[in-house]
């Protein structure tokens, strides 16, 4: 990791998840900002530049895909990496996310926060050794 921490915007409406991901990503050395809905997420994206967007799809009001579409329309050349966070993942939704420039998607339920951090690192810096849950001694 370089001297300036990579900036991540996390858009997630579930407080616990948002808090947990923010904590783990911050601990991993990222500069994390968060938003709880599509509208404030979009405003945050307008206010500053991020290296990576962790975007929940199911959001109150403007949903994740609408946010992404809006952002891509305004910033067609942004190098920001987008990872979709989802619990629902209908094929069409994911496909639409990819068409809007998302690089990847992951399912919150089957990834532990540390695995999520690992995927973020992968996306930003290339392959990382996999993390796994500790086993009982």
């Amino acid at each position: 990791m370089g001297p300036t921490p990579k900036k991540i915007l996390l858009v997630e409406d579930e407080d616990f998840i948002k808090e947990l991901y923010t904590r783990q990503l911050t601990k991993a050395g990222f500069a994390v900002k968060s938003a709880v809905d599509g509208q404030s997420g979009l405003e945050a994206l307008k206010a500053e530049t991020f290296d990576l967007l962790l975007l929940d799809i199911m959001l109150p009001g403007m949903n994740g895909l609408q946010l992404l579409r809006e952002f891509r329309t305004q910033n067609p050349n942004s190098p920001m990496i987008t990872i979709l966070l989802t619990n629902l993942g209908q094929e069409a939704v994911i496909k639409e996310g990819f068409e809007l420039g998302a690089q990847a998607y992951l399912i919150k339920a089957s990834y532990t926060p540390d695995q999520v951090v690992n995927e973020v690192k992968n996306a930003l810096f290339g392959s990382q050794p996999p993390s796994s849950i500790p086993t009982a001694q």
């Binding site: 989802t86 619990n87 496909k95 992951l106 992968n122 996999p130 796994s132 849950i133 500790p134």
Partner: protein, 488 residues
Amino acid sequence: MQPEVKTKKTLHIKIALIITFAVITPGIAGLFISLTPILYLLAGVLSSVLSIIILFWILQPLSALIKSTGVFSDGKLNHRIDIRSGDEFEEAGNSFNTMADKLSKTIQSLEDERDTAVSDKNKFSEILSSVIDGIIALDFNKRVIFLNEAGKQITGYTETEIYGKPIDQFIHLFRDKEEILSKIYCTASFNQSTQLIGKMGKQTRINLVTTQVGSTVQTNLSCILVLHDLSREEELEQMKLDFVSMASHELKTPLTSIVGYLSVFLNESKDIPKESFDLLHKAFTAAQQLQTLIQNLLNVNKIEKDQLSVSSGPIDYLPVLSKAVEDLRSQASQKEIILTLIPPAQNLPKVLADQVRLGEIITNLVANAINYTNPGGKVEISTTVSPNAVQTVVADTGIGIPKEAIPHLFGKFFRVSSQTQQAKKGTGLGLYIAKSIIEKLHGKIWVESEAGKGSKFYFTIPVVTQSAGILNRDKFDSEAIQTGSLNY
């Protein structure tokens, strides 16, 4: 019954007397009184007139008889004649009365029978109308001869529109887009769910039962179709599925937090007392099991709705296998089971599958193996490559599966424990889901097992052939990150 009545001849005598009177009177009068021809003629006329008057008087009962016959035939069956002329007319009157008695009794009994028949008919048509299933009866020429109320509602037709007309001109029955009315027409034991298309293309999902009637040509009844409307049931089923889906999604959200927080806590709390660590670890394991359970419920829901979409694309198998196995390692060690993923002897080719679905299959099989293996046992996962597929074996040293249970093993909600009365947890959904997914991926799944000696679950996933690789090279091939389910 009636003794033969000796016919009176009184009337004959009466008429004979009158004629005699009419002819003889003027003659006799002529004998005693000398009459001019004119007077003689006058007397003749007078006596004739008198005779006719008397005749009319005699015949008067006849008109009474005629009148009464008329009244009776007009339907007044209680009407009787009262003639007391003492002659044949009286006799005719009595005969008439006897006949009228008998006739009205016969008519009464016919009417009673008719009433009974009508009330029976009403009763039966009432019964048929009250049946909530549609009933259509057909004659030997496939023409509709009966349609009950429910039948009208399901088909949209009324009796007048459809009676006497061939059924296949009005109603179409489809099973998987195939018109079946002509094929199944009154086969002995047809009982299946079909799509009925009635008036103006009205579609109804029904269960159709056909019955061949062994009737004579006289009744001209050859077939009865019973249509059971499934739309309400399907609506309820849909509501149930929607509810399960909604509830499962709602349960997942907090559970994701629980599992997330616990995993972070466990990762960071190496220095807490072992006992406390173990307690929390058990909570973590249980929460993970709950996640799998909810995921299984959602999957079954999808299978039921025929919405389980599996996107088949070329993927690296080993990372998927490793992640699924590693995620269960803590569960295995808690039960003191040795979980081993034997590294493949050669590089695995890319397989045509859906990463997340494939992960679910492995998770289900390995979790089952752990579940049904006693502490100290082993669960081993290995892979072999054939030209067309990668075969994976999940072998355990567990309690095994009784022979009689094996044919039912991949059915929904089936649990070996329910047969052997061994209390084991599980919903019995895992293998059903695994089979459904594997089949969608064009693979195979089977089991070899012996009670008490452990089980070996095998499954194959097709490998990417050159042409398939080209066909499936779409956006989902992105190797950026190992991610993603496509269908929740």
